[in-house]
Amino acid sequence: MSGSSDPAGFGGKPQAYDPAAPLTPTGNLRRRQIFSKVTEYMATIAALGAIAVLVIVVFAVVRHGADAISWDFIIKGAPEGVAPALVGSAIIVAIATLIATPLGVLIALYLNQYAGRRAAGFVSLTMDVMNGLPAIIIGIFIFTFMVKKQGTLAIGQAGWIGGVALSIIMVPLIARGTQGVLRLIPKSQSEAADALGVARWRTVLSVILPSALGGILTVTILSIARAAGETAPLLLLTSNGDISRVVLNPLEALASGPVRIYTLSEEANPEGFTEAWGLSLLFISFILFASMGARALLARSKRKTSS
């Protein structure tokens, strides 16, 4: 190739200018371009690698979990099935959602509607710190605050207390997400309400919240998906629930999926592993579908509001 023959003449013998020679980079430029290409490939490989890990994990769960799944597995208690853990998780997460959604939305409204710059900075800082709080710390705190005062570990446990702990994890997620949704609502909407002399609270209730409702819903689903897999707080707060029968009373200790998976994973028992794979499959499919669906909805509603 004439590209490698150094046509510009740096370093080598001067050559006659050949206008027909193809413009291929040489020397330093060629090296720079190759280096650039290599870094591009590495970045692509990094992205593919992350997806590969996701696929490997999900594939392992599906392959091993499929053996365990049957109708009995879903609707019966131990030893055949895991219904108590499923129902327990549902109740705990429902309680957490009932607490966290109003609080999160109100905090987002405060940030969006009322807070001055300093107050907003302070409140979003507390939300950031709360979001970064290790789940085990939240668990140990709620344990001290609500379980310990009622007696020893075994006695004071209750499903609703686990729900309270999960709500502390959900509040910052919902607040941050809702704040993002509220920011997307066109200012002209609330300005139109202001111009008509509508009071602020009526504007919030009848203009802002209705148009944010879809977004709040998806944000809530996303945080439910996050809370459903949380183990550490439940391990301290509601770990000795009955796994042989379905318990509906949240004042009792409830079994839950993540805690059950954790317990089984710590025992070296092949049958237990199969059960844990099955539970993992149920939870991972719920969580992945919920977050994918919510994300798709969120993207759609964002497109709608921005266009």
Binding site: S36, T39, A43, P134, I137
Partner: protein, 330 residues
């Protein structure tokens, strides 16, 4: 409406308007108080968490003082009753920093891929998939780690790393089980990559197109645009994102407890077992033996709280202080 024409009706209308005004004033105040109350409640919970944990740790703080941080003895049985978090603190920092060392470059590369290289259609598929990685519950990741990753690490990765990089003390002799600080770090790496890559992608997207085009017009290659324009203008944000990931890694209890093997030795050898503050709490809190044991676990929680909150505060401070002026940051 029509009654407003008659004098009597207008008086009623005035009264009605009065009522509505009063109602609005009440409604405004009520909504404000509820919203501000929720915000204050959040702050109160944080303060309460810090207070309760330090309060419960008091017996251990009185007994061991700051020596708790450096002492490596952890003997929970009645006759010894000695506790020190030195090895736990070491394990926490070692596993988290190794995870960050491994994860941050990969995550930043993913951020670059998504923001600079990928066509829009590819980005629309890859970005949500990477974020889904963050949605996998830690307990399932840990369970997968025990049964699939750890045996693989033991049979393949550990010998290979020991043979090629064995001169670095981090990669010692392969061990009998796959439970090790190394395996825990790999799990943590998987957990922090989506966090760091999502934030850094947003940062890179905020770099103005004109600056990059300017560099390209001067003859810079794609890498040189990234190296010369994109990375310098977002460096502080990338560091903040990494600190967020670090905070997440430091506090992860469950997945680490599952794969780290609950060792109590201080060793730079990643293939040995170890333990972290969070994992020790998750492991021993439910079956704690003595008052002092519980108090020591609270002391561990207090240390974890300080480190975790510090990482978050520094991240948020960097994010605010050095945020890129040209782009919109969240």
């Amino acid at each position: 409406m029509s009654s407003a024409a008659t004098p009597a009706g207008s008086r009623a209308a005035v009264r009605r308007r009065d009522w509505r005004k009063r109602g609005d004033r009440f409604g405004d105040a009520a909504l404000y108080i509820i919203c501000a109350g929720a915000a204050v409640l959040g702050a109160l919970v944080l303060i309460l968490i810090a207070y309760e944990i330090v309060n419960e740790a008091r017996p251990a703080i009185d007994k061991f003082g700051l020596g708790f941080i450096t002492s490596t003895e952890w003997k929970p049985t009645e006759q010894f009753n000695i506790f020190g978090a030195g090895s736990l603190l070491f394990g926490t920092l070692l596993s988290s920093f190794f995870a960050l060392l491994l994860g941050a470059p990969i995550a930043i590369s993913i951020g670059l891929f998504l923001s600079q290289l990928a066509p829009k259609a590819v980005r629309g598929v890859v970005a949500p998939l990477v974020e889904l990685l963050a949605a996998v519950p830690s307990v399932i990741l840990g369970f997968w780690g025990i049964l699939i990753l750890a045996p693989f690490v033991k049979s393949t990765i550990e010998p290979a790393l020991h043979d090629t990089l064995g001169f670095i003390p981090l990669f010692g002799e392969p061990q009998t089980t796959g439970s090790s600080v190394f395996t825990a770090s790999l799990i943590l790496t998987i957990m922090i990559i989506p966090i760091i890559s999502a934030v850094s992608r947003d940062l890179f997207m905020s770099v103005p197109r004109e600056l990059q085009d300017g560099a390209s017009a001067l003859g810079a290659t794609r890498w040189e645009v990234i190296r010369g324009v994109v990375l310098p203008s977002t460096a502080s944000g990338v560091i903040a994102a990494s600190l967020l990931g670090l905070g997440r890694a430091l506090g992860e209890a469950i997945a680490v407890a599952q794969v780290i093997g609950a060792g109590s030795e201080i060793s730079f050898d990643l293939f040995k077992t170890g333990d972290t503050l969070a994992a020790r709490i998750a492991n021993q809190f439910p079956g704690a033996l003595t008052e002092l044991h519980i108090a020591s676990l609270y002391y561990c929680a207090a240390l974890l709280l300080v480190i975790g909150v510090a990482a978050n505060l520094i991240a948020s401070w960097i994010g605010r202080r050095f945020s890129y002026a040209g782009g919109e940051l969240r």
